[in-house]
Symmetry: C2
Subunit: 144 residues, 2 copies
């Protein structure tokens, strides 16, 4: 099948399939005489694996490791578990950061009239920076 059908049946866009090939996450696809990429059921299975890992928030780097382990029938499950748990710890750290932000903002908003009057503790806090209630905004925080 061509890349379009592989994309539809795997849930990975054609753009991303080409990208994954270019960065070496997946092997170069076979080509027709005209240069079209072709995929078989096996390739689509790999793409599905990638899509599920991606949906669980794994980075390309982590997916590279997971794919290698998937293919390695003699793998040690400890290795897979370690990657998964490291990822969980990473996710939980991000959750805590976000919770700190939400808590601070909710608190401030709770004290804001939210009417036509100009007084607003949210703005006041941003301007003065009194409350240091949010999770410590250390390095490494990225939004979206």
């Amino acid at each position: 099948m061509n890349i379009g059908e592989a994309a539809r049946t795997s849930g990975v866009s054609a753009k991303m399939i080409r990208y994954y090939e270019r960065i070496g996450l997946i092997a170069d696809a076979a080509r027709t005489e005209a240069g079209y990429r072709t995929y078989d059921r096996n390739d689509v299975e790999t793409l599905r694996f990638i899509r599920r890992a991606r949906d669980l928030g794994f980075s390309v780097e982590e997916m590279t490791a997971l794919l290698a382990l998937w293919r390695d029938k003699g793998r040690e499950s400890a290795e897979v578990k370690r990657i998964a748990l490291d990822h969980v710890a990473d996710i939980e750290r991000r959750i805590r950061e976000l919770q700190g932000m939400a808590r601070t903002l909710s608190h401030l908003a709770g004290h804001c009239h939210g009417d036509h009057r100009p007084d607003c503790p949210i703005i006041d806090d941003l301007a003065e920076g009194v409350a240091d209630e949010a999770a410590p905004p250390r390095s490494g925080f990225r939004r979206r």
Copy 2:
């Protein structure tokens, strides 16, 4: 003061100060004859405002609105509150996405021996995609 001191006292890197000026979040700084940017206490206050908003996860777009409201002494607090609560809702949506991922992965890891044996439900799930326990991986999800 020059950009270096403004960066140190505001907590916003010189790189980012130039970036914020270039994209129009802050006004063009005054310049010395030699072309050096100069900042006064007022400018540093603005930069501090930006840093705090950034630490709370506001995007540049949201910061633009918040800065305008900060300067507008006749603002309606309802407007500020709306931006803050919209942002909280956005944060909470991201938290739920992350929690779904962490839950699924923790569940899978809990059933993985994590030893020298190759059997691993984490890999099996990625390969087969049986459990659809994670938050629906709709469009718009971005990692980090």
